[in-house]
């Protein structure tokens, strides 16, 4: 560090013999508008290697599970041709298993991108970055909203792209077993969009948890608890209440929204959408209110 001299000429205009060139309290340039804060959050997002690795993992997992699922579905349909028991099971599924193949890795995509949502917010607090962030944007909410937008858009676009890619990869495999998958069919498009929205919602819930808990491990554990432990626990706990309540868990809102026809004893599609929406809005609003109130 040899070049640590102070260069007085750096102050440009007001260094030229006018020490009071800047009137007290007056800024001589733009402040943190939402678009500028958004740009800042995008820079923060793309300059973390760990984030990019998690995004890459999501693509790999979704595409990989798509291919595996295509192969498994092919095996199943082959068995159905010779085994009447398998044929009955195959028919019970509506005969169209292939349409669910591209989204078969969603459970893992939601875990990775939900955790990413937690990490992007909790790491602000664990690393002390939050002090820099909120010194630059002292109103705080714009920074939170910008980060939320980046997280949700990324989760949506990445999931959609991965699911589409998984579909492309599984086409030749399914074809090998004589199964047809039309990626442009309305059901395929619906599956892709609903799952992408769902993963974006999970990422938003993760970010809210990261902001509320401010601790990476705690946030991720809460997320896992909500999406992986609660559904199992609710099934095991006896009593009608938990059977009913289970329908309202965020992880159980996808099937009703993508069902070809309404399955009895599940939510209607619009109800499921509302439930998922509530699962996003309530934690996010709570996180934003507390972020504004609490000390950094």
């Amino acid at each position: 560090m040899s070049s640590t001299t102070l260069d007085p000429s750096r102050h440009g205009a007001h260094a030229a013999g006018d020490p009071a060139g800047k009137l007290p309290g007056t800024s001589t340039g733009p402040g943190p508008s939402f678009l500028r804060v958004l740009n800042s959050e995008i820079i923060k997002f793309r300059t973390l290697l760990s984030t990019l690795i998690l995004l890459g993992c999501t693509v790999l997992v979704v595409v990989g599970f798509g291919a595996l699922s295509a192969w498994g579905t092919g095996q199943f349909s082959e068995a159905a041709a010779t085994d009447p028991q398998a044929a009955a099971a195959f028919a019970a599924q509506g005969g169209d298993l292939a349409v669910g193949v591209p989204t078969s890795g969603i459970a893992f995509a939601q875990l990775i991108l939900g955790s990413l949502g937690v990490l992007l917010m909790s790491s602000e607090f664990t690393t002390g970055m939050a002090r820099s962030t909120f010194a630059a944007v002292p109103k705080r909410i714009p920074a939170f909203a910008a980060k939320l937008l980046v997280v949700m858009l990324t989760a949506f676009v990445l999931t959609a792209a991965s699911v589409f890619l998984a579909g492309l990869v599984s086409l030749p495999i399914l074809d090998n077993y004589g199964l047809k998958l039309d990626l442009a069919s309305s059901q395929s498009v619906k599956m892709l969009l609903v799952n992408s929205v769902y993963v974006a919602a999970v990422a938003a819930i993760g970010m809210a948890l990261g902001s509320l808990i401010r601790n990476s491990a705690g946030g991720i554990m809460s997320l896992v608890g909500l999406f992986f432990v609660a559904p199992i626990a609710f099934q095991l706990i006896p009593g009608d209440f938990f059977v009913q309540a289970r329908k309202y868990l965020p992880g159980n809102t996808v099937d009703p929204m993508t069902a070809v026809q309404h399955v009895p004893d599940t939510l209607e599609a619009w109800q499921a959408a509302l439930v998922l929406g509530a699962w996003v809005v309530i934690p996010v609003v709570l996180a934003a209110v507390l972020l504004k109130k609490r000390d950094v």
């Binding site: 260069d7 020490p19 340039g29 923060k44 300059t47 290697l49 760990s50 630059a136």
Partner: protein
């Protein structure tokens, strides 16, 4: 200009800052001095709107920080050298900060050059030494070319060359008419850097005066006098603004008179004195004196090597 009025911060049952009032003027370096845990960082975080005051207000140029239209362009702060994501490079950190205010890349490069980080700017901050972290924090503080600069313990972890650099930097910034507010728990550093000192202890302002006044013990000169006739000398010296303290039967401590006047008075009164020692307190001593009742964590080993053996029963 930074103005705190009745600024208070209470964490649970602990009062970190207890209703402080102070003004940090533009155009000079104001030191914020206090022992660890005195409330310096809390006060600075409240200035930056990161901690919400329990009561009272603090404004920068008349406006609370959070209400400034372009906060980074008005106030730059180094609050914590580790206020950076450890996995991001210094350059990208500054770039992201700059983006919030559309500060051009040119300026990012400028502050990197200025703080001597050019060689490591593309490296992850997690691998930085404390000194490099401080330089990055200072670079971030200067990013918006702000009128007010707040630096919390900026010389912590810097090598001697870096300490001199910070000293010159803050003096230069103040000479340009900027408001510079600098905290430290090191008196010696303040003595050579600050023009004005605000001393804080246990959340209360103990002193707020020009640095020279504080070195002089608030303008008071103390002199130790030894004489065979202390009572007579005490009587002779008594007067306005003079206080004489009898320390033992031959030793007096006189405050408010310079040694020459004491000697002259003694001579005129035919009192023999055989010691006359001006007690020019060093800033360190003045500081210790000011804060001795205010430090939160007293060292257990108070009186050198012999103490632990003797204080075994404590």
């Amino acid at each position: 200009m930074i103005e705190a009025r009745g600024l208070t911060k209470v964490y649970g049952d602990k009062t970190a800052v207890a209703g402080v009032n102070f003004t940090v003027e533009a155009g000079r370096v104001t030191g914020f001095l206090g022992p660890n845990g005195a409330g310096k960082s809390t006060t600075m975080r409240m200035i930056m709107g990161l901690d919400r005051p329990t009561s009272g207000t603090v404004t920068v140029n008349g406006t609370p920080f959070a209400q400034h239209a372009a906060p980074l362009r008005d106030v730059g702060a180094l609050l914590d050298a580790k206020a950076v994501h450890t996995s991001r490079s210094a350059y990208n950190h500054l770039l992201a900060m700059a983006a919030t205010h559309s500060i051009p890349k040119r300026r990012v490069h400028e502050v990197i050059e200025m703080t001597g980080l050019a060689d490591v700017a593309k490296k992850k901050v997690g691998g930085f030494s404390l000194g490099m972290g401080q330089r990055l924090g200072i670079a971030a503080a200067l990013l918006g070319d702000p009128q007010t600069v707040i630096l919390d313990e900026p010389v912590n972890g810097l090598d001697p060359e870096g300490v001199v650099w910070v000293r010159n930097l803050v003096r230069h910034l103040a000479s340009e008419g900027r408001t510079v507010f600098l905290s430290s728990h090191l008196m010696s550093e303040m003595a050579v850097t600050a023009d004005h000192l605000i001393v804080i202890g246990r959340g209360r302002i103990i002193a707020d005066a020009p640095i020279q006044d504080i070195i002089n013990g608030k303008g008071r000169i103390r002199t130790r006098v030894r004489t065979d006739q202390p009572d007579q000398l005490m009587h002779l010296l008594a007067g306005d603004g003079v206080s004489v303290e009898l320390q033992d039967n031959e030793l007096l401590e006189v405050t408010g008179l310079d040694p020459r006047r004491i000697a002259r008075t003694a001579l005129d009164g035919h009192v023999m004195i055989y010691e006359l020692t001006p007690l020019q307190a060093s800033l360190e001593e003045a500081y210790m004196e000011l804060t001795k009742d205010e430090v939160e964590y007293h060292s257990l080993i108070a009186t050198g090597a012999a103490a632990p053996v003797q204080s075994g029963g404590n």
